[in-house]
């Protein structure tokens, strides 16, 4: 299979499947940052992100020997992460709706998430904070499925084809979800832009 040959993680995966725990650690180190971004932008809660990410890697570790390389490891672990996060969000939504305890005050207040480039200009920084706060609210108002595609496409820069493989939907569905989500987000930010 062509994709199997192109998987840059093939060697690490093979070693991890043979029981080399250091190889799996290398995979955790390689993907924890990207997956953190995915999960945090979908949950907006640091504690939930940490716990979910731990569960995602634990599940990947237990399931690794069944990984046949039909997709790249990257797509495979992203599918696990996305499915587990969507399930978590659905359960959280059923449990008590979205409360302030669930959602952190926002990435805009988290110094590690603020773009370093804006720190030199306080006025610009203030505007960015306000906009990011609004954006955070707007993202939370999206459905989980729409938030997932926005996170993967706009925030993480993944191509449509990759997102469609991860979510198990057609590229057309990915594009239509993105279009709808962008409309929703623009609608939420419209009054701020008109000021």
């Amino acid at each position: 299979m062509a994709e199997k040959a192109n998987d840059p993680d093939q060697e690490l995966v093979r070693r991890a499947q043979e029981g080399d725990t250091q190889a799996f650690d290398d995979l955790v180190i390689k993907y924890s940052r990207k997956l953190y971004g995915l999960v945090y932008n979908m949950t907006s809660n640091k504690e939930d992100t940490h716990d979910l990410l731990q569960e995602i890697f634990a599940k990947a570790y237990r399931s690794l020997r069944h990984f046949r390389g039909k997709s790249t490891f990257y797509t495979w672990i992203y599918s696990i992460a996305t499915n587990m996060t969507l399930n978590f969000l659905k359960k959280r939504g059923r449990r008590k709706g979205l409360s302030l305890d669930d959602v952190n005050s926002g990435i805009q207040n988290d110094t590690s998430f603020v773009d370093q480039g804006h720190r030199a200009n306080p006025r610009r920084q203030s505007n960015i904070h306000e906009l990011q706060k609004r954006l955070n609210e707007a993202l939370q108002a999206l459905s989980e499925d729409h938030r997932a595609v926005v996170t993967m496409f706009d925030i993480q820069g993944m191509p449509h084809a990759e997102i469609s493989k991860i979510l198990g939907v057609s590229e057309g569905t990915v594009r239509s979800r993105l279009y709808y989500a962008h409309q929703q987000l623009q609608g939420h930010l419209e009054d701020f832009w008109k000021r």
Binding site: Q54, S63, D110, S112, D115, W193
Partner: protein, 126 residues
């Protein structure tokens, strides 16, 4: 592409640039090892087996329905053969008695105590 849409995309891109510090990910890996050890100790063999079966079924894709249907069919066949048949009359049901039950005799108090004829008699069961 309008200005607002461009700004929206820039804002979203900015969110992707920030991640926690390196120390967080070092601690994350240590926490992962700690949880793995705890998990191994806590999980029973049964739950591990169930999860592995679940993963196996997930990996099978469309074939799992064929295997599932086959397993259900086999279960029905085994149940049919194992079900007890034809010996209910021998063990389970007692034979019905054909004897006539003893009749109860009613005597009237008036006949014994010599009461008047127009008084309604009281029936006493012996």
């Amino acid at each position: 592409m309008n200005k607002e849409f461009q700004e929206l995309q820039e804002l979203l891109e900015e969110r992707g640039q920030g991640v926690p510090a390196d120390e967080y990910f070092e601690e994350f890996l240590s926490d992962f090892h700690r949880r793995q050890r705890q998990d191994l100790m806590r999980r029973s063999a049964r739950s591990l087996l169930l999860e592995r079966m679940g993963v196996w079924l997930q990996e099978m894709g469309g074939a799992k329905w064929i295997y599932g249907a086959g397993a259900a069919y086999a279960l029905v066949i085994v149940s049919l053969f194992a079900w007890p048949r034809g010996n209910a009359s021998k063990e389970g049901i007692e034979p019905v008695s054909l004897e006539v039950p003893e009749q109860k005799v009613l005597h009237f108090e008036s006949e014994r105590s010599g009461k008047k004829e127009n008084e309604p008699p009281k029936a006493t069961e012996f």
